[in-house]
Amino acid sequence: MSQTQGARGDGLAPERAFKAICLLALALPLFLLLVLVGKAFADGWPRLTWDFLSGYPSRNPQLAGILPALAGSMCLMLLTAAIGIPLGVGAAIYLEEYSRPGRLTSLVEVNISNLAGVPSIIYGLLGLELFVRTMQMGRSLLAGAATLALLILPMVIMASREALRTVPQSTREACYALGADRWQTVRRVVLPMSLPGILTGIILSLARAIGETAPLITIGALTYVAFLPNSVNSPFTALPIQIFNWISRPQAGFHVNAAAGIIVLLAIMLLLNGTAIWLRARFQRRFH
């Protein structure tokens, strides 16, 4: 009896140690994140005024605003979504619902997984050569959005496939047995059921796209833009680029601006991620 208890007592020690390690693994990055965000807030919060949000860049850090970058980022997001979502979801539907397993399919699958791990600057170089030069889009919003769409494509495809896979085969069969063809089944039953997962994947991918700097710098987004984009062909800047630009200036005033810009960018990302969580919760409630 006592021996059993002793053994049990011994068994608990590694359990506790493991728990402590896990807690530490959680606490450490969280602490670092808090310090960084806290510093950005401490520096940038006083600068975050309406004038800052609605102002144009200036040589004087006190007068410089973020509006062109904010507008550029928003336009970039919309265009990226318009290009990336149909392509990504379409590819996922093809791979999950139509393709027959074979050499070509596995080749495509391996490539998609690999592309998800390619550094974003490589996408920038591809965008520069393909969209800016070969397709002669110039250093435009469209070229930027097309590059970012390529960047998020693997993520959208993988998240959408994951979501499509959660729809049970029995539901598809129920549909076929009612005399529906493959497309009717996908459109009326499979897509609605996997929508929360697909939406979550899309929003998280877009949240990543909005934070990307390297590919946009590579394709030649401007760093000083004193106007708003008026068409898909107009030159543009984006929030991360504006922040990067300010932070590399020697004047301390611009560093404050950068901190304020970081807060704006963080707020947009939080908003996007919050929307993703809200959407998922909403659809899950509706279905169950």
Partner: protein, 282 residues
Amino acid sequence: MHERPEERHTRDRFGLPESLLASANAMTVVPTTSKIRVENLRAWFGQTEVLKGITLSITERRSTAIIGPSGCGKSTFIRCLNRMHEVVRSARVAGRVFLDGTDIYEDGINPVRLRQRVGMVFQKPNPFPTMSIRENVLAGLRLQGIRSHDQDGLVERALRNAALWDEVKDILGRSGESLSGGQQQRLCIARALALEPEVLLMDEPCSALDPVATAKIENLIHDLRKQYTVAIVTHNMQQASRVADYTAFLYIGELVEFGETTDLFTNPSDPRTEDYITGRFG
């Protein structure tokens, strides 16, 4: 191995459609016609042959039960009758299945159209979770983009035919998944009936249900066979004897015995049938 000659002998005795129809006609008062004729049906999953040449007839406006131990191919058999077998990757079929005299495996036949005439109810209730009860009943029409002017009437008729109307008439807007298992299964039956099929295939429709729900579905099948041609797969022999006019006994992909249900259960002519129905295996 040594069973081979015996099996061939059995197929000769029970596989031939002439003898089958003759016996069916002799024993029923109302003249019956064959709705589905299956000739030498073989089916595979990959390299595994799960049906090894089945020949039988399914009589119009009667219910036919397919019984047999697990893995004997009974589900595969009825899935071949509305070409659902081929939905599974690596699945293959050979042989002929005539519906009203037309081979459904012929080149020009669209399996999608066929399935509108031959409805199916599955083992596990599978209402569409994103749709309400009403939408579930109308799903077949909506999926195919058919507009119906009397949707309310159609929903009520289908739910009444499935003996579910009284229980759900006030909650038609609620999700199909909010119902109990037995109600969900009757909803799936209503969903199939809403398309007004000629044949209703049921793949162990009660195996996921409790006895009370099972009794309700069985009563329902009892009524449905007056209007529809019903083929029901079951591993429950009592169920077969309660709901089926004819019974086929399948064993490891072969049709061992087929005949009137009462005959097959009281006077089996094959020793394997007798062993199975007396519970010696299965």
